[in-house]
Amino acid sequence: MSTQPPEYAKKDFMSDQIIRWCPGCGDYSILSQVQTVFSQLGRPKEEFVVISGIGCSSRFPYYMNTYGFHTIHGRAPGFATGLKVTRPELSVWVVTGDGDGLSIGGNHLAHLLRRNVDLNVMLFNNRIYGLTKGQYSPTSEVGKKTKSTPMGSIDNPFNPLAFAIGSGATCVMRSIDVFAQHLRDTLQAADTHRGTSFVEIYQNCNIFNDGAFDAFTDRAVRDDRILYLEHGKPMVWGKTARWGLRLDGLALQVVQLGDDLDESHCLVHDATNRVLATMLADLDGSDGFPVPVGLFYSVQRPTYDGAFGAQIREAKVRLGEGDLHQLLHAGDTWKV
């Protein structure tokens, strides 16, 4: 890495390829924020690698003026792991979708998370298969009518954050395509975390699942529906009225703040608490609860690539640089 952090503008991260998403697709906004964030991370451009699977979302690398690899469906974590453990100095970003990352690729994602390879995963969740023209996905709500489910889907969806936590993730976040500033902040935080940062990004597919997140992203209601999670901050939200979360045994409870209740009566977010993260991941905006975004969970654990490199270095210290002649002549040899 160069010692003098380079000065970039967003446009330095824009590639010359024509963007092939549908006009109005939420992917545009995400792309724009990522380009901005990359330009501000203080790293040389050539150290960024964006690796994706297959899907509309997975077209992402083509539009980033960095190194990029558009691989095969569901397997981006494998490629990224092989790259990162051999080239730990690179900044590796995986882009995946709810189909790519949770349908065909769920296992690789889970193993990436338990290994805690130091890279960042952005899962664009539009709750639909975009590229294949609109079949329901593993995050689609039950009863979803699509071409493949004319009577409605019957599978209970995954909760991506619960899945990540259950797989042993060390850093779990959520943001939303249209929350530009929040998304940028979230990606900044992902970059900072050592280990796998898992960022679910709600993304509107205006062609096959338009408005999937309107209930809480619409400007009119946003402030009353979204809870911005920050470590050490009380969990309160609301514009017209103020609400807060409290703990009732092992359940969360919504309370209205006012005369006798204020922020100080609300639960303070502890992002290192996995149980709390699990409970927050469950909230989906129903029953008066908010939809939380931001940092759900973050703990430090040794990274896989770190330990991988350390073992190689330790072997070299203990055994010296390998001597090929010695290696071949190891064990029983004889002369003829």
Binding site: Q17, Y62, T71, P77, G78, L83, R87, G320, L324, L327
Partner: protein
């Protein structure tokens, strides 16, 4: 003192058989080492049970080891054993068929009680029911004698019994005039007191008993072979590949990244490589075969030499990713240690039935290079060759080995490491940024630049979609697609420049036996026998299967008859017929076992009639 004469033998085949827990593989490898050290040529065949630990004493639990040694060059572990050591009833009945009529059979009479016979599913005692008629049978209470020998050392009964493999080894060492010192030294290195002393005691006791018991009519000597001079060691195929990959790391200066998911019979490559970290070898046990190959490709993308290893079912799973590597035009070596299929098949048994899968088992027009090892002692070279081709041409190379090569051992002449050519790694450089095009090509090899992340100014995007020639941008242009498909195919054909002229062993016309992989030994032996008998016959053994050598068509055209012995239902034969329109005929065997020389000879002779 036993007055037995010493007879010289040109070659001999010996088989050890006992329960999995009896240490037969140790006996086999000690016998191998000692024979190698005295200068015999040799070849071995271990025969493991499929189960991890089948119940002791059952037929399923029998573990065997066969070795052929000779005073001349040999290529196979032999068809039939001249001598068998059988440590229990199950081992006797399951291995007797492998002994030639009149052969020596040394049996541990302590393991023929009713219970032992039951476990071996025998209704009568083979020691008594005539089963052994026609063999030279040496009955020995090996368990008891071992117990007596180690008694002074105070081991528990079970532990004492474990020494009986060394007792047997002592017997056989005497019988075939082998020195004890190498094994003694090994025992001293390997064991701690009191097991060290106990094993040595058993070894010596067995040797002494054989010498004094007067049960043996003769003992034998096998003079040393006049092998090419050099330093030798024994090598299995799985170790040879591991060493070859380590050498590739050293000779290239690049990291060799081995991503793998365990599978029989390939797992040992991973095990062998894992301790080579200080050679620049990185190993990664992935969650499945797909992740393993993808990680290897990711490593190649970053400038390492990505390698993945598996067996047939795993190769099937890797197909899609191999397709990506070939269109991304990145180096990738895929080792397939073949086993008997289809599906799970006979996982511990050998077969050559993945050639067509290696050639064609991917969607679209997806040519890759295919090369094959033919014996444990060429695996080192073949692994280096796979890396070399893959790096030079930036394309996947499938290396075919098989269970027989993987686990079999034979002496290997250690190469002079300085004579091994460097593997040049030519990453694209920042200085080329001005003119850089990700899909420009080297005019000779058609390789594209290897532009690794981290190189300033070479930022670019690649992927599985069709790419425009030179720029690498996604392109749906019809003519471009045709061009790229042809370029990828042509790149493989260009490798012909790296293939040495085809070596023909034998006559210049008549019948040609053409093979690949682990049938080498059987085919070569049969060829030599038939040549000696005055037949016009020759042997060509292919290392490069895709592309085939440029001169192969000419070679084939010189022979009246082309026969293709394979351990499958006919695969190489299809390629030859297709490409050269020669009426090549298969000689197929698909039984989870190598060809016996005698069997192959008979079939070749029949085909020549």
């Amino acid at each position: 003192m036993n007055q037995a004469d010493t007879k010289n033998l040109e070659q001999v085949v010996i088989r050890f058989a006992g329960d999995s827990g009896d240490g037969m593989q140790v006996v086999g490898s000690q016998f191998t080492r000692t024979s190698a050290l005295v200068g015999n040529d040799l070849a071995t065949l271990p025969d493991f049970p499929a189960e991890i630990r089948a119940p002791a004493g059952t037929r399923e639990g029998v573990s065997g080891f066969q070795i052929q040694l000779a005073d001349h060059q040999i290529f196979t572990p032999g068809d039939q054993a001249d001598a068998l050591v059988a440590l229990n009833a199950a081992a006797l009945v399951t291995n007797l068929g492998a002994v030639r009529p009149g052969g020596i059979v040394i049996v541990n009479t302590d393991k023929f009680a009713k219970l032992d016979l039951d476990k071996a599913r025998l209704s009568s005692n083979p020691l008594e029911d005539g089963t052994l008629d026609g063999y030279r049978v040496i009955r020995a209470p090996i368990s008891t004698m071992t117990k007596d020998a180690v008694e002074p050392l105070g081991l528990k009964t079970k532990e004492a019994d474990r020494c009986k493999n060394f007792y047997c080894l002592g017997v056989v060492y005497w019988l075939y005039g082998r020195p004890l010192d190498a094994t003694e030294a090994w025992v001293r290195r390997k064991f701690k007191s009191p097991y060290l002393e106990a094993n040595l005691a058993a070894l010596h006791a067995g040797h002494a008993w054989a010498e004094t018991s007067e049960l043996f009519q003769n003992h034998y000597a096998i003079p040393s072979a006049s092998l090419p001079s050099g330093d030798y060691r024994n090598i299995t195929g799985n170790m040879g590949i591991a060493l070859g990959l380590a050498a590739a790391a050293v000779k290239s200066g690049a990291t060799v990244f081995y991503g793998s998911y365990p599978i029989t019979p390939a797992s040992d490559i991973l095990h062998n490589l894992a301790p080579f970290k200080h050679f620049g070898v990185a190993t990664f046990q992935a969650e499945d075969e797909i992740a393993a190959v993808c990680a290897a490709i990711g490593a190649s993308y970053g400038g390492a030499i990505g390698v993945t290893g598996t067996s047939g079912p795993g190769l099937a799973l890797k197909a899609e990713a191999v397709g990506l590597a070939l269109t991304a035009e990145l180096p990738l070596v895929i080792v397939d240690v073949q086993r008997a299929g289809p599906s799970t098949g006979l996982p511990t048994k050998t077969e050559q039935s993945d050639l067509m899968q290696a050639m064609y088992g991917r969607n679209g027009e997806s040519p890759v290079a295919v090369i094959a090892a033919s014996r444990p002692n060429d695996t080192f070279e073949v692994a280096l060759e796979a890396v070399r081709l893959s790096v030079k041409y930036r394309t996947p190379v499938i290396l075919l080995s098989d269970g027989y090569i993987a686990n079999g051992a034979e002496p290997w002449t250690l190469p002079d490491i300085h004579a091994i050519p460097r593997i040049p790694i030519d990453y694209a450089k920042a200085e080329e940024a001005e003119t850089f095009q990700p899909y420009a090509r080297d005019p000779e090899t058609l390789a594209r630049p290897w532009a690794v992340p981290g190189t300033p100014g070479l930022e670019h995007r690649i992927g599985g979609l069709e790419k425009q020639d030179r720029t690498g941008n996604v392109s749906y242009d019809p003519a471009n697609h045709q061009k790229m498909c042809e370029l990828r195919a042509e790149k493989i054909l260009r490798m012909r420049a790296d293939i040495p002229p085809t070596q023909v062993h034998g006559s210049a016309d008549g019948t040609l036996l053409i093979g690949w992989g682990s049938t080498f030994g059987a085919i070569r032996t049969v060829t030599d026998q038939l040549l000696a008998d005055g037949h016009r016959i020759a042997h060509v053994h292919l290392r490069h299967l895709n592309p085939l050598p440029g001169d192969l068509g000419d070679v084939l055209s010189r022979y009246e008859r082309v026969l293709v012995p394979e351990l499958n239902l006919g695969q190489l034969v299809r390629l030859l017929r297709d490409l050269y329109l020669v009426d090549a005929r298969p000689i197929s065997k698909i039984q989870g076992q190598p060809f016996f020389t005698s069997e192959l000879r008979a079939r070749v002779v029949a085909a020549m009639a």
